[in-house]
Symmetry: C2
Subunit: 185 residues, 2 copies
Amino acid sequence: MPAPISSRKRVLDQLVGLFRRDGYDGVSISRISDVTGLGRPSLYYYFPGGKDEMAHAVLDAASKWFDENVAAVARGDGTPASRLKTMLVNIDRFYSGGREACLLNAFMLGETNAALSKPVRAAFEAWVDAFALISRDTGATKTQARRRAEGAVARIQGALVLARSLNDDAIFARTLRDIETLILE
Amino acid sequence: MPAPISSRKRVLDQLVGLFRRDGYDGVSISRISDVTGLGRPSLYYYFPGGKDEMAHAVLDAASKWFDENVAAVARGDGTPASRLKTMLVNIDRFYSGGREACLLNAFMLGETNAALSKPVRAAFEAWVDAFALISRDTGATKTQARRRAEGAVARIQGALVLARSLNDDAIFARTLRDIETLILE
DNA sequence: GTCTATAATAGGATAGAC
DNA sequence: GTCTATCCTATTATAGAC
């Protein structure tokens, strides 16, 4: 008998890939069924709340990833420069060097998804806070740190959009490098 | 009898508002019918190709707006600084100070809309070219100008995403100001 | 946990009258 | 140009067997 290749965790990972690429309205349960290899009823077994619950679960998973790989690093040991370096390396990996879209950006579309706007906003705030923490540790004032951090998050988002549209990874790589000097200055 | 408040041009303007906010998949013909006050068949009278044609028409309209209000200004008379200032003022107005989303970003979602990716990419290239032209006129090398222009477009896109999510117009305003120094340096 | 089968609805699109 | 009426398909979601 085949190994239990199916699990909620595995499905969740695939959902991240689908939602970040196609957005909430662009993903159908049928397509999720095709990609995961699970029948539609099985998906409702894992996510009784349907697509809505899937989207929230995906946001939770992404937030958890961010907490562990970015926010925790910002609060961790080492010089500000070394912590920032690790954060950026992890971010680069999460976005596959700029080839993958941002889930938060994808979930901002559509008024149907108004319920998603609160966790999306909270996620962006956490991003900003993480960068601001590094900036403060280099001596920036609270206001300076906040603005530089906002600039960093915005540049990452914008670089993802532009790099993906122009199919040019270098744009994303350069942006991450620029952020190092922006935050540490 | 009521005045002929309906016209293709008016519908097109409303379509821009709908698509930039909800994305391609997030907009239904029924909703378009509600918003425009036109019956579904009337929409197909103006756009026989259906939703697909509507999306392309909306992109064309946005590209035309950009050509007239940004690209033409970049090629126009005046100092680089004054031309850039006008471009940024027009961009600020188009995005209502950062409260309205970017159509190009919205149209990047979904594999269904693969046909849209070519015009979207062309539009981004035109954006970059316009800023690069200003930068070159201030003495930057071709490579420098290109990179600064990419940075400017990315920052605008990212600022729109972040400003809308955090509901903070100031982020967008600061970004436009930063771009002035970025391009003119 | 996963399936087959099916309900119920929403979506895109068209025919044909006026 | 705009409408009523309609078609067909896709979509979300559930019932119930295994």
